[in-house]
């Protein structure tokens, strides 16, 4: 926990975990062996807030890096999420069907969305490091949001 990066923007704080990689579209992927677990970041869940549904992929389906996988619906907005890496879906977080708020409450843990078996692990080199993602949040949040 102590090694998390805390990005402070104005009055808001965002956590970036050091043990995973990130995308420009605010997903994280935690790679273990030839598998990757995917979710959305603390920043993304705080932008969306009040998540009421998560559209999950089907186990066995294939996803491609940068392509849309599903969507999250919050009270106020719908937001697509994308595959950080290419692969075949091996597990989905079924708990999110009944308790989608887990994405808000624990985006890096209980709120994970799906797991893939990586078909092209080399793609990971183009993902953002935790430090680079933290910088991205800072520069993005500096813009007026309304």
């Amino acid at each position: 926990m102590s090694s998390d990066i805390i990005v402070e923007v104005g009055k808001k704080k965002y956590i970036v975990k050091r043990d995973r990689l990130y995308t420009e579209t605010d997903e994280w992927v935690k790679i273990e062996g030839n598998k990757g677990v995917v979710g959305i970041t603390d920043y993304a869940q705080k932008e969306l807030r009040d998540i009421v549904s998560v559209e999950l992929p089907e186990v066995g389906s294939t996803v491609s890096k940068g392509k849309r996988v599903g969507a999250l619906d919050s009270v106020k907005a719908t937001s697509d999420y994308y595959a950080p890496l290419s692969g075949r879906v091996t597990r989905v977080n079924e708990k999110l069907t009944e308790t989608p708020e887990l994405v808000n409450n624990d985006p890096y843990g209980e709120g994970w969305i799906f797991e893939i078996e990586l078909t092209n692990p080399g793609e990971a080199s183009s993902l953002l490091t935790p430090e680079a993602y933290a910088e991205k949040i800072k520069s993005h949040s500096a813009k007026p949001t309304h």
Partner: protein
């Protein structure tokens, strides 16, 4: 942007997440909009609604001035009572704003206007006054008082806790002024709100309001933000500018189809702005009318959005104006304009949500009955 008086307190002490609403900065949420929504339906929570525009209209022509502007007949409203929602129209019988009037006396009324319409309405009131020569003074009280809304089935108990032992004797839409509560004097207390639950609204100087908020927090009453306020009003069947109504006749139907109920329009009344077009719309029969749509539980956790199309077979018969997944009903609901030829309560329609069709039933408001 201007923050409401107590914004820093909410952010620093209560963990509010602030956001923009028009040119205001207000708390969007505290613990989370869904939790806050349920807290209001099941127990009690408080909102800070200081962004609502509040105007004092005073002068010998105050009554005539207001009669000329609003669709509701104000002559039967007693001193110490609110009008219930009423509408201000433009010449196309489209709605400028839905507002609430408070009768302080024959020549003295308060108007509560929507935050986003506030600037426009003040200009409009002044223009009407100049054009027609009404003798009225219009004073903007918005910055004078903080306005709190204590809402939920337990709200009377909370008001008693604040020292308003008489609160429970107020009838809906009744108000009292210049009362002394445990923490100091307040300007106005009314039995009202915008959540569809029992509740009270309190106007007080910011320092007194802060002590009220501290007392509420100490008593375990949860704060709630603007997002929950919106979902509560959708479930209650209340309307919001930009969603259910607006001035543009190409985007919004005439006010007859708003079906606001609660006596928002008095047909027996004559001589108000927009009347001609409103009566024409009534005689011709409104093409569109606002109804509720209740989705089946099987549709799951979908969120119908403003603009989603409503179908009967392959014919588009309407569009969604506001939608949500109701945490109370555990199903999706929406407010929608439906072509009046197809608007049969109890009938089924289909709604396209994110490109997929879902069945829904046409229902009347509210979706959720008051506790």
């Amino acid at each position: 942007m201007r923050g409401i008086h107590l914004l820093d307190y909410y952010v620093e002490k209560l963990g509010a997440e602030p956001g923009a609403y028009g040119d205001w900065e207000v708390p969007y949420r505290f613990s989370g909009a869904i939790e806050e929504h349920l807290e209001v339906r099941e127990r009690v929570a408080f909102f800070d609604v200081t962004h609502m525009g509040r105007l004092l209209v005073k002068g010998e022509d105050a009554f005539d001035f207001l009669q000329y502007i609003y669709t509701k007949d104000l002559k039967d409203i007693k001193q110490g009572r609110m009008s219930g929602p009423t509408l201000s129209l433009n010449d196309w019988a489209r709605v400028k704003d839905d507002e609430m009037l408070y009768k302080l006396g024959d020549h003295e009324w308060l108007i509560v206007v929507n935050a986003l319409a506030s600037g426009k309405m003040i200009e409009f009131f002044k223009r009407v006054r100049e054009e027609k020569g009404f003798k009225v003074e219009i004073t903007d009280l918005t910055n004078e008082h903080t306005m709190l809304a204590i809402q939920g089935p337990e709200s009377t108990r909370v008001m008693e806790l604040l020292g308003a032992s008489w609160a429970g004797s107020l009838k809906p839409l009744e108000f009292k002024m210049n009362e002394t509560l445990a923490v100091g004097e307040v300007y106005l207390v009314s039995r009202s709100g915008w959540t569809g639950e029992d509740g009270y609204e309190v106007w007080a100087k910011p320092d007194v309001a802060l002590r009220i908020v501290e007392a509420l927090v100490k008593a375990g009453v949860k704060p709630a933000g603007l997002i929950a306020r919106d979902t509560l009003r959708i479930e209650a069947g209340f309307v919001l500018g930009g969603n259910e109504y607006g001035e543009d006749p190409t985007r919004f139907p005439c006010a007859v189809g708003l079906r606001y109920g609660m006596g928002a329009i008095t047909w027996g009344k004559k001589g108000f702005i927009g009347e001609e077009a409103l009566r024409a719309c009534r005689r011709e029969g409104p093409r569109w009318a606002r109804y509720g749509l209740k989705f089946s539980k099987e549709a799951g956790r979908i969120v119908p959005r403003h603009g989603d199309a409503v179908y009967v077979e392959d014919i588009q018969v309407g569009w969604v104006t506001s939608g949500m997944y109701s945490p109370v009903l555990k199903r999706a609901i929406a407010q929608a304009y439906i072509d009046t030829r197809y608007a049969v309560v109890g009938e089924e329609v289909e709604v396209s949500v994110k490109g997929k069709r879902f069945e829904a039933k046409i229902v009347d408001f509210p979706f959720v009955a008051k506790k």
